[in-house]
Amino acid sequence: MSKAAELAALIGSQSSLSNRNLVINGDMAVAQRGTSATSQSGTDIRLLDMWQLVEGADAVFTIAQSSTAPDGFNNSLKIDTTTADSSLSTTQFASVKTRFEGLNLQQLQFGTSSAKPLTLSFWVRSNVTGTYSVMIALSDATNIYQSHTYAISSADTWEKKTITFIGDTTTAIPDDNTSGFLLDFCLGSGTAYTSGGATGSAWSSSATSYFGGHAVNIMASTSNEFLLTGVQLEIGEVATPFEHESYADNLKKCKRYFIKYINSSGAYAVGAIEGTTTAIFSFPAPDMRAAPTAAIDDLTIGGGIGSPPDVTAISSVTNTGHSLDCTLTVASGLTATNAARIRATGSDSLLTFDAEL
């Protein structure tokens, strides 16, 4: 596309000139949890910020932030099958999802006669050619979704895909911090979710069309892989060029949903000791989407001398909007009214807060 054509498309896209992309971390640049995870299975696999891998079959994956990417991008989300499942039961599937907060979707005017169409564009690559499915599901409604197919035509070659979804004039998206809808890329699915064919430009509640028309199975062989990047979802019927943003801006958006304090030689935070086994800390943080789940490993509380006790639990987490106020527990050894700091004790030390959708 020429620059003039790009500008014309942008102006005619019914979208704003900035903040067009509803997808956060569509370029797969932010990976707070790490850049690779092996032996992944289950229904809630998270690595790259804002993206979820659901393995609802008997396969096992390695998931990674890959440097294999099309021109203009440095990263992709890569999913490698390491244990195959070549015979899916009717209800088994695997897919890659990202979700969107309802309060970020109100400009779509879903549920009104002015509901806006959406155009999805993305780069995809796989050794498995054939017909794939991608769909949008309204999370707050009961099984309302719109599925489309696309083809990967050439093995191991980046291909850019563009798909337009019609707006939903009947179902409003609640204006709140819960999931308004999700975008779901199928990797393989049993016939219970494919046999009805794609909905195309229609909204449906038929389960057989959820991944309608999907015809390949990334899980079928340990030779298979699937890579995705440059995901953009924008208002209008025209796909504009991917809206690159700074890493800092991207990371800031991601931290509304997930924060990882990594190992360092200094303190994670300074707090106050409440009793022999409890201390309170206020971790600087942006306004997270909801009260987050915490995970800890190899942390101590103390004044920096002696043998500070290990943190054994977090017994409260409060999202104040500008900090995360936490009560941390140790087995014994604290002195009330003292100040204290929380520190890492090893290379595996971590403290995470997870409010992802």
Binding site: A313, S316, V317, T327
Partner: protein
């Protein structure tokens, strides 16, 4: 059509006011501290499994 999380243990923890405030749980082999907030996806799933009779949360010590 999300399938359920694999939750193998769940126990309440109390805050400084002696009120239940966290569920210490193991999900897919990872120990997590989950606030009692239905907008939190982990707690929403814990609550769903409790309501379905598939999970019991132990009382706090």
């Amino acid at each position: 059509m999300n399938q359920k999380m694999n939750i193998t243990s769940a126990k309440y923890l109390k805050d400084l006011e002696d009120e239940n405030s966290i569920v210490k749980t193991v999900i897919d082999g990872e120990t997590l501290f989950v606030p009692l907030d239905l907008e939190n996806r982990h707690y929403a799933e814990i609550k769903r499994q409790v309501d379905a009779g598939e999970l019991t949360i132990e009382d706090a010590d």
